[in-house]
């Protein structure tokens, strides 16, 4: 199974490494023809406004939207979650997203870098052991629409992981903590989608 990692900017090599460890063939995606070859896509952490700008400048934004519409499994972390949100709050001037997740995401919801943190989260869908999650100038999901499902919340109730059909998004970065369960879970979705077409 071939999984793409959007490689316009951000920590795409960390995602590629985790996916290879789990046995996937990895393609770095910067162009529409690379996107066309993949069975699933990861949108990494990074600066969402930069990814948006580059995706539009190099003709990748519309093919990404079409791929999501046609059922491509996509997992977004942090900036990737913002890219997958139907509504982005506090984006830069003119910022667009790919959309697909029926959620409203607030960009940089915790404040400056000194408010970045790590903590343990319960994510029931991944089993009993908590997920050690790193939040770096992270977004939160302000509103979970009726078509999306919250998978994890902070102690104060704010939603930080969501799923909707073949789309998965987290505010935090499993790719930099050695936590592989989200990627395994996502590869399960990719396999099922390949089988079902």
């Amino acid at each position: 199974m071939t999984v793409g990692v959007l490689a316009l900017q951000g920590d795409f090599r960390e995602h590629a490494q985790v996916l290879r460890t789990l046995g996937a063939d990895v393609v770095l995606v910067r162009r529409p023809e690379e996107l066309a070859r993949v069975d699933g896509l990861v949108i990494p952490g990074g600066e969402s406004s930069v990814m948006d700008k580059l995706a539009r400048a190099f003709g990748l934004a519309d093919p990404l939207r079409a791929a999501v519409r046609e059922g491509l499994p996509v997992y977004g972390t942090c900036a990737g979650l913002i890219m997958l949100a139907d509504t982005v709050v506090d984006g830069i001037r003119g910022q667009e997203s790919i959309g697909g997740l029926d959620i409203s995401v607030r960009r940089n919801a915790f404040g400056s870098q000194t408010q970045s943190f790590e903590t343990d989260l319960d994510v029931p869908v991944l089993g009993e052991a908590p997920v050690h999650a790193v939040f770096i100038r992270a977004p939160v999901v302000d509103t979970v629409g009726p078509r999306a499902t919250a998978l994890a919340r902070l102690a104060d109730g704010r939603c930080v992981a969501v799923e909707q059909g073949r789309l998965l998004g987290t505010s935090f970065h499993p790719e930099i903590t050695g936590e592989h369960r989200f990627h395994e879970y996502f590869l399960g979705t990719v396999s099922a989608a390949r089988f079902l077409g």
Partner: protein, 300 residues
Amino acid sequence: MTETTSIEQFGSSRVKRGLADMMKGGVIMDVVTAAQARIAEDAGAVAVMALERVPADIRSQGGVARMSDPDLIDSIIAEVSIPVMAKARIGHFVEAQVLQALGVDYIDESEVLSPADYVNHIDKWKFDVPFVCGATNLGEALRRINEGAAMIRSKGEAGTGDVSEAMKHIRTIKGEITRLSSLSKDELYVAAKDLQAPYELVVEIAATGKLPVVLFVAGGVATPADAALMMQLGADGVFVGSGIFKSGNPQARANAIVKAVTFYDDPSVIASVSRGLGEAMVGINVSDLPAPHRLSERGW
């Protein structure tokens, strides 16, 4: 769904180094006004460096260069939503305390400003805000990491528009890492001594073949091709100081350098973004700079 009650940990190494990870494949731009910060964000900068004078002006105007006015830093933080970095003088831990209090996202303990301490650098472990530091070779990089730096940038020669020093420093750092990887375990003791670096860090780098933190390049990058050159040499990203706002068309040049960093291995993209940028910054050949004016020699 059960809710967690676990403790949130701020200012950890993972959180500090993590922000640099998220900037990889990106361009960090020096800006001296909120209006320039706006141009940088619109162009696709991953962060801005808030300064009173770009290095080219520090160089031409001379005098002691210090931390920027807090009002200037506030105005830039208010203008943009991408991370804002600011510079403290080498060893000036009170400037760093002030910058942390202002809420900057990263502090650059920088040789571009006049050093405050000719012996010690700042103890960066004491801060929740992460630090980036310059290095000209592997030993210097490891000493900074040992002091708590969460990101390294090769120094180059700031404010010149001459990429040759940046080239020398990234090649030196990469070359020294490769050499460490080829040594046997008993040779690493002497290697650590020669590098004047902690043995544990030297062993780690010999095993992994890379720095434990992100490595950007700085100092002399002025064109899209310069930026792509640094990426092909293995940089994780680039700082562009005077190169953008001392050029004929900053908006176009900023846009072009962002694209060249993402498509650093595609000459057709680099060619296309290099068209119609107007004049590059005038620049100074590093070989014409007398030694006392070379900023890269500051830091120990």
